[in-house]
Symmetry: C2
Subunit: 455 residues, 2 copies
């Protein structure tokens, strides 16, 4: 295999070094690591095509790899084979300012992209906590704090170049803002987690940095009050930029990690975007609504530095947990429900966490109906592992029974395959047929998304 790969790549683009294999054996989740046989670093989509053609002919498993920040074992090569690391394909190819589009290679990370875009007064709004690659973010249909306003990756991918299992290169979209031509392949390739092809180029929607922004922290007596306040703001049609919940436990972690002194009570982090006059009116209306839900206090930060500090604290929450529990592994639940079911779901989550006696904090993109429980697991304690899995199952069951999904943004990967049948029913067979016809040798990221035999 290595000698065949040498016909495609330089020696420096192929590694079987144990440290490198180890780095590609795991993501940021609790899932058990497993090494690939070899890691390759292509520089062009032609090289990706040649690698896949070879792998397909020899039925060798292939897994694409961005930054390894996935949370459900997406990139773990349980059947070994080739891991394609996209870190050398990290060029920003073209910023089309007038069209609000940017064309990039898949290994570009979101902070790299936003640093470049900021020179033009532009930004890309999808912001998962991790500094993931855009290729990886598209593969899992990532989202984040700004998705309540700007949508998820699926909403912001205009076109992709994708190399299929047999090495064929296709485009999944168009540069036009809308199209009714052919089947919408963007929709199906975004979120396909490397099981249908490898993304080798992306054209993304970008946005002007809003004229005015105002961030706020609002504290509440109970988490139920905070959630109900969010629902009321959404129902009033206030066009909020961000609206995040952080429970008491999680505020503690934030304070500990970020050396902040936020009051340790259920808190909403908010951001308003717009023109100056409109924003003032939105803010005033939101304050009125919050008062109806026993808001304890609301503080505004219009200064850019203070606003960034507030959002950094929120973004670093997962790392705050990791930092506080050295040696433990992170398990994060990720259900998303219709907004009317959110208060009930978060209430139920707190009851189950307490019943099981687990140290879990709740946080979430409540404007989308998406929330997380962050658990730090001692992987040497079988009882704790068992309890954590039980919690995850109860949380997912609750969401599915109410029209929700088992994963709002982290994806299925290895860990959530067991819920696919329950969530999708007969539609799972349609997904399997599509997978089978596009990857007949099942080389693309095996044991992920649809193969529930192992999870």
């Amino acid at each position: 295999m290595i000698s065949e790969l040498r016909n495609i790549l330089n020696d420096s683009q192929i590694s079987t070094n144990e440290t490198i294999l180890d780095l590609h054996s795991k993501d940021e989740s609790y899932h058990i690591p497993s090494k690939p046989d070899v890691v390759v670093y292509p520089e062009t989509s032609e090289q990706v095509s040649a690698i896949l053609k070879f792998a397909n002919e020899h039925k060798v498993p292939v897994q694409p790899f961005g930054m390894g920040t996935s949370l459900e074992g997406h990139i773990i090569p349980y059947d070994r084979g080739i891991t394609i690391d996209f870190s050398l394909m990290n060029k920003i190819i073209e910023i089309k300012e007038k069209d609000f589009l940017v064309k990039i290679e898949p290994g570009v990370t979101r902070t790299q992209l936003n640093k470049e875009l900021s020179k033009y007064g532009l930004f890309f709004p999808v912001d998962p906590g991790a500094d993931a690659t855009l290729g990886g973010m598209a593969a899992t249909n990532a989202s984040g704090t700004l998705s309540v306003k700007y949508g998820t990756m699926r909403d912001n991918v205009r076109d992709m170049e994708v190399v299929l299992a047999d090495g064929t290169t296709i485009h999944t979209g168009t540069l036009a803002a809308k199209s009714s031509s052919g089947y919408h392949l963007n929709g199906i390739f975004v979120g396909s987690e490397g099981t249908l092809g490898c993304i080798t180029e992306l054209t993304l929607k970008i946005f002007g940095i809003p004229e005015f922004m105002s961030a706020a922290r609002a504290t509440f007596k109970t988490i139920d009050d905070a959630v109900e306040a969010v629902v009321a703001v959404l129902q009033a049609g206030i066009p909020i930029g961000r609206i995040e919940i952080v429970d008491e436990t999680s505020v503690k972690q934030v304070n500990h990690f970020s050396e902040s002194t936020y009051e340790e009570v259920p808190t909403l982090f908010l951001e308003f975007h717009g023109n100056e006059a409109g924003l003032k009116q939105d803010v005033a209306f939101t304050k009125d609504i919050f008062e109806d839900f026993n808001c304890l206090d609301i503080q505004f930060e219009t200064d850019t530095a203070a606003r960034n500090q507030l959002w950094d604290a929120r973004h670093n929450l997962a790392y705050a947990y990791i930092h506080s529990y050295p040696g433990r592994k992170m398990m994060v639940t990720d259900v998303c429900l219709p907004i009317s079911e959110l208060a009930g779901a978060i209430h139920h989550a707190r009851v189950v966490i307490d019943q099981l006696g687990l140290p879990g904090g709740i946080t979430g993109h409540v404007g989308d109906g998406n929330y997380h429980i962050i658990l730090m697991i001692d992987m040497n304690d079988p009882e704790e592992i068992q309890k954590s899995k039980e919690l995850n199952e109860q949380i997912v069951e609750y969401a599915l029974a109410r029209g929700g999904t088992c994963t709002g943004e982290h994806g299925v990967g290895f860990g959530k395959q067991k819920y696919q049948e329950k969530e999708h029913g007969e539609a799972l067979e349609v997904m399997r047929k599509i997978k089978q016809v596009l990857d007949p040798n099942a080389i693309l990221n095996p044991n992920k998304l649809l193969n529930d035999k192992n999870s």
Copy 2:
């Protein structure tokens, strides 16, 4: 066949009456009519499932039919067979106010839906000119004047129940606002034009009627100025609700049909949505920008009746043409381009229209980069038919060469199959594989979207 169908449906739900067959032989386009063998009117998804199961076993073509307002021959049964008319499945099942969702049957029309939603201060924003059914609108990924703000059907379908070729019933989505679970089937079934399944239920996103709205008409000396003004407004990040262009020829048609007295020069129809303070600032900013592009005059209509009249005039534009050219058939081009290419495209369109000596008017959803040329063709004049087809081809070639699409909102149907290979390249093979694996007997709306043999 009829006796088999009698096992599934009542006699009143089956028709072979010539007038009925004739009504189902054509849409609103210039494409040549062709009758089905039978028209059926199911009342439940179980009946749709039984019809498809029967059709699949006997390899009988099936085409779904909403209101017959398609513009590319989507519903014409060129291979005869069964036309499923969804007019009896027209119930609004549930309005979930708190979740901003509505569950409906596919035969509900957009005015029927909005009439009901208005009782709750809510509305559904996708507004093609025709009073189409929501099932048909989802099948073609329809859009309209409000899509610049609210998106297309694909952006507003949360979930669908779809009956597949073999009679299996699936759900394509979830009720949650976002999901990273499984392949995104919504994306591929919306816009699949009845070639992958029959939609039997839809859950759609709905919106609060904006707090404040202001409509405006702005007139310009040249169409180039008007288009450049639109691009400048978009680039300034002003969150416009609607922004439509109507050229001189089309304003004439509007005046003639609606008995209005709009000045017959290139005109932008606009609408701003928002809170009162924000809207005032947006309107003032837009006026400033328009002045830089030689705006002749700008008139505002804040009064609801005047605003509705203005938008009715715009929506009735196609009917204004039909009314003025009795006996002729409508051909409408429908390309969509990156916004930076729009001014050049519209300029090119006017040159080609004049060169060919055709009486064509330009109109369009310019905020999306989507514009139409409306032509009324004398189907007895082979030279005019030939010239119209030539125009369409030149317009499409221009758009495709600049990263655009051959259809922004009308769909492929019968008429645009010939452009699919050029637009999608190798991706067309992926679409064909998906079609083949989901509809192996090719019973679902044959000769549409992917079968370029006849178009």
